[in-house]
């Protein structure tokens, strides 16, 4: 049996992954705002 035979797709977790990416984008945006404010 090879794991590749059943290579998973993003499936029902798609929203969770988008949430993590959105949270990361927000973090970077806040860090950039912080940089602009204090540099």
């Amino acid at each position: 049996m090879s794991g590749h035979d059943h290579l998973p797709i993003f499936g029902t977790w798609r929203n969770a992954y988008w949430f993590a990416i959105a949270a990361f984008a927000l973090e970077v945006a806040l860090l950039y705002a912080f940089t602009l404010r204090f540099s």
């Binding site: 090879s2 794991g3 590749h4 998973p8 977790w13 993590a20 970077v28 940089t35 404010r37 204090f38």
Partner: protein, 565 residues
Amino acid sequence: MNRTDYFVLFATILAIPLYGLWRTYGHPNLRQYLKGDHSIRWGTIGLSVLATQAGPITFLSMPGQAYESGIGFIQNYFGQPFALIVVCAIFVPIFQRMKVFTAYEYLGQRFDTKTRLLGSFLFLVQRGIAAGITIYAPAIILSALLGWDLNLTIWLAGGFVIAYTVSGGTKIVSITQRYQIMVILVGMAIAFGIAVHRLPADLSFGNALEIAGKMGKLHAVDFSIDPSRRYTIWSGILGGFFLSLSYFGADQSQVQRYLAGGSLRASRIGLLFNAIVKVPMQFLILLLGAMVFLFYQFEKPPMFFNQPTYQRAIERGYGPQLTALQSEFDDVFIRKRNSIQAMPKASAAESQALTAQVQELDAKARTIRDNTRKVLEQSGANPKSKDSDYVFITFVLNHLPHGIIGLLVAVIFCATMSATSAVLNALGSTTAIDIYRPLVRPKASDHHYVVATRWLTAAWGLVAIAVASFASLVENLIEAGNILGSVFYGSVLGLFLVAFFLPAVRGSAVFFAGVIAQTLVLLLFFTSNIGYLWYNVIGCGSVVIVAWIFQRTLFRNDRLLAPQT
């Protein structure tokens, strides 16, 4: 450190493992010993993954890094959320479905025994040495500053970890890491609060940030495409992604953390928790370093933080040179402090002139420190790590109240113990499952393998302590740890990427591609001076390309063979 500090230190570092021993008391079967049980939920997995990555170097070096170069280092973590999503989507479900104990066991099922052995061998070599450095790096700094015996410090950190990791296996590692990381986060938060509180009373937090920003310490995000810039958002996302994918996907010390408990959902939520909290956590640790920097603009810092090395140079007759540098440094400090104190009340035009003056004086102070280092090197006093590694612990020992000092030293020990226990657990498991079971005793009982894993975990602990005892031979320890990981990670990640994405490639092609790629990386390491982060890319890319070519040429007849299970 006084009695209160020692009480807090020992109470903290002993209570957590003792609680873990109480929670894991019993006779686990092999699955329980290597994967824990269903009581391990996503919160424990998430904190355990966080604790495994955040070793003692994180808490000793990161604030010092911000002190020296600002908080731009945060961008190195920008690739991690993407890597964790890939691990969640592809690696975790495959590992969980195949019910493997180790990542390399999967390579055996997908390819063959020799590829499994290659993956596990590369992991064991790299991590066995890295575990020694994880113990040694904080031990050398703490023993130097506190006057403790180095070997005793190594055994204090290492010996206790061996005992509880051997006893409780994966479950005790997960439980203790949960509380150790809580102690670490609380300790760092208290240090942050005190650093801000110890700033001059007439300086608001906002003003403090303004000054730190004007001194170039708060440049968190840099969109520059100039390749000479050390930290940019692009290098962070690309380089960080690659490094994180290798670390979370192919390093058993992390794989074992998120496979604990055996629930796909818990593993995924635990990893996504890390994708979200890692950047804010590192930001606060770096910001703490910026606050310590600001604190030392009002309180005179030592010219060289590694005081034992400085004293050795004086004893060797370099006192006059160092005294001259010290008086120059003191003069620069006073002028800089006066300018900084004038900044909050200055008009816009005055503020601009003061900022330029402060930046110039700061550059001067940096030059004096560089010259000091050169004198120390001439004297043969031989500092073993960067002076910035001593910044935060010097601040803790000299400026925090008693009790809190004990807590912060416990933070360093907790970080050492949590990172080391995860690595020893993974080294013991990999040796037992990927080498001992298939090659030495293929058909023994569950109980036999539990006992074997315990002995092998203990043996790896002794190897780590032996490496720590000889680590003084390495010039720059922390750099050595990073280089070591980069030299081996790329090839191992390549094996997994071929397994997932090149279904036509079989065992022999990928095995020989792995050997060639690792040899190539080692050759480059010894003969060239390219940046070590590139080894990851070269190792991984070589495995993928060479395996594909081999499968289509030398091993094309291997295609029809069924993979071994």
